[in-house]
C-alpha cells in the first residue's frame, strides 16, 4: 500500500515539470528559439510618447466630502536598446487645480511617502512605482476617500516624479496608468478646475 502511494505521489509530483511551456518572445525580431533585443542602429532609434487625452475628475461634493479617481494611460514606444524613462511635473509653478481665483490644493505628500488623499486636495499615484505600493487602483466617481495613497504632482521648478523606467526597448509600446484623484466637500466653490502637467520621455 505504502509503495503504491509513494509511486502515485512521485508521478504526480513530476507531472508539473513536463507540462511547463517555455515561452519566449523577443521585442524586435520575434522568432521563437532565437532573437535579438533592441536592434535599431545608433542614430536611427525612435521614441514615441502617447497619452489618452484629458482626464475627467467630476465630483459632486457633499458636506462630508466625496472623491473621484480616474486614470490617464501613458504609452512609450522605443526601439532604443538602452530603454527609457518617463516622468512628469506640472507645466507651471502652480500645482493646484484652479478655477479663476478658486483652488483645490495639491496633496502635500510626495512620491517617496505618499498618503491618503485629504479632503479638498488632489493628487496622483502610479501603482508599483516609488512608494505607492501595488494597488491595484480602480476608478470611482463620487465615492469615499480611496484607501490607496496619493502624492502631489511636483511643480515645474522642482525635480520630476518618476512614472516608469525601463532598461530595455519597448516595442511594442508599454503603457503605464497614471491615476489622478480629487476629494472635495461643500466648502469648495463649484466651477471648472484645471491644471496642466507635462509628461517627459527620454531614452536612457
Amino acid at each position: 500500500m505504502l509503495r503504491r502511494l509513494t509511486a502515485i505521489i512521485a508521478i504526480l509530483c513530476w507531472i508539473p515539470l513536463y507540462v511547463v511551456t517555455v515561452a519566449a518572445d523577443t521585442t524586435d525580431t520575434s522568432t521563437y528559439g532565437s532573437g535579438s533585443y533592441g536592434d535599431c542602429n545608433y542614430g536611427s532609434c525612435t521614441l514615441t510618447l502617447a497619452t489618452g487625452g484629458t482626464v475627467n475628475l467630476n465630483v459632486t461634493p457633499t458636506g462630508s466630502g466625496l472623491c473621484t479617481v480616474q486614470s490617464n494611460a501613458v504609452t512609450v514606444t522605443t526601439d532604443d536598446p538602452n530603454g527609457y524613462t518617463t516622468n512628469f511635473k506640472t507645466t507651471t509653478t502652480t500645482t493646484a487645480l484652479t478655477s479663476g481665483s478658486d483652488t483645490i490644493a495639491a496633496s502635500s505628500a510626495n512620491e517617496s511617502s505618499p498618503a491618503t488623499l485629504a479632503m479638498n486636495t488632489w493628487g496622483y499615484r502610479v501603482d508599483s512605482t516609488s512608494g505607492f505600493g501595488a494597488g491595484p487602483t480602480s476608478s470611482q466617481t463620487n465615492g469615499s476617500v480611496p484607501s490607496v495613497t496619493f502624492a502631489g504632482v511636483p511643480a515645474s521648478n522642482q525635480s520630476s516624479d518618476l512614472i516608469k523606467s525601463s532598461s530595455s526597448a519597448a516595442n511594442p509600446g508599454v503603457t503605464t496608468d497614471v491615476w489622478y484623484g480629487v476629494c472635495a466637500n461643500s466648502t469648495i466653490v463649484p466651477g471648472t478646475y484645471t491644471v496642466q502637467v507635462t509628461y517627459t520621455a527620454v531614452t536612457n
Partner: protein, 296 residues
C-alpha cells in the same frame, strides 16, 4: 406632498450647482509625438560647430502645435534617472544651440525636420557637456488635468582637448535562481573627465546551447558616475536552466564576462521541483528497502 416635492427639487438643483468639473472633456482622442534620433554623441572642438537634425512625427489622431527648446541634462543615481535642472556653475548650453524653427504645427501623420547647430564657444574647457533637445506639444487648454507631452534627443557633447579617459567594470551579477524575467546586472564606473560609451553584448542560451537570445546595449557612462545597467529578458522563458555569456567593449578594450548559469522558476515551479525531489528520495528509500528484503 408638495413639501416633499419641493425638497426633492431643491436637492436636485443644489446638487447640480455644487457639481465640480475639475476635468470635463472626455479623454477620448489619444495623441502621440515621436522623435528621432533618441541620442547624439559628438565631439566638437571649442570654436567649432556641429549641425544636425531631429525628426518629429505626429502619431496621434489630432493635430497639435509644438515648440522646440534645449534643457540641461544630468543624471541623479546609479540607474541614471534623468534630471533637466540646471547645475550650479555649469555653462548655459541653451545659448550654444540655434534651430531652423522653434515652433510649428503638426497634422496627424505628418512629420517635420528641425535642423539645429551647436556652436561650442572658443573658451570652453575640454570635457563633457550634456543637453537635451525637447519637442513639446502645445495641446489646446480645455479643462481638467491637461497633459502636455515632450520627447527629447539627448546630446552627449565632448569638447575636444586634453582629457582623461578611465573606467572599469565594477560588478557583473546574475543570481543563479531567478523568477521571470531573467535579469543580468552590470555596473560600470567612469573615473575620467569625459564620458565614454560601452557596448554590452550578452547572450542567453538554454543549457544545451539550442536557443540563443542576444542583447546589444550602448550605454553612456558619465564622468564620476557609477552606472547600473540592468538587462532584463522581457517576455522570456518562465522556466528553464540557462547559460549567460557576454562581452563589454569600452575605451578600446574588450572584456569577456564570466559565464553564469541561471535557473528560472516561479514559486509554484519551485514547489513542484522540491516535491519532485522529495518524491524521488522517498521512491529510492522504498526501493532500497525492497532490495534489502529481497536479499534477506
Amino acid at each position: 406632498m408638495l413639501t416633499k416635492k419641493a425638497i426633492l427639487l431643491c436637492t436636485l438643483i443644489l446638487g447640480c450647482l455644487f457639481t465640480l468639473l475639475p476635468a470635463s472633456s472626455v479623454g477620448a482622442a489619444s495623441s502621440g509625438i515621436t522623435i528621432s534620433p533618441t541620442s547624439v554623441d559628438q565631439q566638437i572642438s571649442p570654436g567649432a560647430n556641429y549641425s544636425g537634425e531631429v525628426q518629429i512625427l505626429n502619431k496621434g489622431d489630432s493635430d497639435y502645435a509644438y515648440k522646440v527648446y534645449v534643457a540641461p541634462y544630468n543624471v541623479t543615481d546609479e540607474e541614471y534617472r534623468p534630471d533637466f535642472s540646471p547645475l550650479p556653475g555649469a555653462p548655459d548650453l541653451a545659448s550654444w544651440f540655434s534651430f531652423s524653427r522653434t515652433s510649428g504645427h503638426l497634422k496627424t501623420g505628418a512629420y517635420e525636420l528641425v535642423k539645429y547647430v551647436v556652436d561650442v564657444p572658443k573658451n570652453t574647457k575640454p570635457g563633457s557637456y550634456y543637453a537635451v533637445i525637447f519637442v513639446e506639444t502645445q495641446d489646446k487648454p480645455t479643462n481638467g488635468v491637461i497633459a502636455q507631452k515632450r520627447v527629447g534627443t539627448v546630446l552627449y557633447i565632448r569638447a575636444a582637448g586634453k582629457a582623461v579617459e578611465e573606467g572599469k567594470i565594477d560588478a557583473w551579477s546574475v543570481p543563479w535562481l531567478q523568477r521571470d524575467p531573467l535579469t543580468m546586472t552590470l555596473k560600470m564606473t567612469n573615473s575620467g573627465t569625459v564620458h565614454y560609451r560601452a557596448r554590452v553584448n550578452t547572450t542567453v542560451s538554454d543549457f544545451f546551447g539550442g536557443s540563443t537570445y542576444k542583447f546589444d546595449q550602448h550605454p553612456a557612462i558619465l564622468p564620476f558616475k557609477l552606472r547600473r545597467i540592468d538587462i532584463p529578458w522581457q517576455n522570456g522563458a518562465k522556466f528553464g536552466l540557462f547559460r549567460i555569456n557576454g562581452t563589454v567593449q569600452y575605451l578600446g578594450q574588450t572584456h569577456t564576462l564570466p559565464t553564469q548559469y541561471v535557473l528560472v522558476a516561479n514559486t509554484p515551479m519551485r514547489i513542484g521541483m522540491l516535491s519532485a525531489l522529495l518524491a524521488f528520495a522517498l521512491t529510492m528509500i522504498m526501493f532500497g528497502k525492497k532490495v534489502r528484503r529481497a536479499e534477506k
